[in-house]
Homo-oligomer: 123 residues x 2
DNA sequence: CAGCATCCGAACCGATACTG
DNA sequence: CAGTATCGGTTCGGATGCTG
């Protein structure tokens, strides 16, 4: 995953035209990086939590998510921030405080995610 | 992932009540297994392709997806079939023929997936 | 044609130890 | 409090090679 330029499903094979003209929707490969970002552990939960609760601190997320290792949470937050789905805001205080919140883009994602998650959860 | 009974985000931590009452949407952990299934490589594409093109043969999928190894494709198809998102139909012919198509459940998924994918793809 | 079995490397997860 | 650094275990992905 995490492709930057090449595309394994449209680059080589799509030109073969094996299927037909309705194949407009057949390529979901690049998808920017969002899909990559959200298909890792806790990403979905983070987006959902920030959407439901508003800004949250590092330790709050850590607690609610049920103690993942700190490094894992760090990585997820960093990745989501790189995709501009969440925003990191640090206050210059002692003790330090950092808050994470959804960006507008993140809120768009959350909106589109919700129907999917609700459907998957009810079942 | 692939949890069957235990839940790492609501089992232990949600009872801590660190956030507040709006945390209804905070638990996406179990989510049946659908999320697990679709967060693996090619699952999304398979569902999308079958939705757009109708039933497809093994070799068609293989070609359009751009030659993943056969075992990987096999695994994905099997997993999606176990989740009852796709249906496998084999014809008793020589040479053998197998077609895959979306189940009603798979079509529901595809519908909810589409807005998300379109949004992610346009960017 | 449609696949399963196997083996290897890469990515991901989790726990621990340590820093600003 | 909010992280970074490191390391071992597990899962995932890709390449062959071989069957019904």
């Amino acid at each position: 995953m995490a492709q930057t330029g090449s595309c394994d499903c449209c680059g080589s094979a799509a030109t073969a035209g094996a299927v037909d003209s309705t194949a407009d929707l057949s390529c979901y490969c690049p998808v920017d990086g969002v899909i990559d970002a959200i298909s890792k552990k806790y990403s979905l939960q983070i987006v959902g939590l920030l959407g439901a609760n508003g800004p949250m601190r590092y330790s709050e997320l850590e607690e609610v998510l049920g103690a993942t290792s700190t490094s894992l949470l760090s990585n997820r937050l960093e990745e989501l921030a790189e995709e501009e789905l969440i925003e990191r805001r640090s206050f210059d205080e002692i003790p330090p405080r950092v808050e994470y919140s959804l960006t507008p883009r993140g809120r768009e994602l959350e909106g589109r995610l919700q129907p999917l998650l609700e459907w998957a959860a009810e079942e």
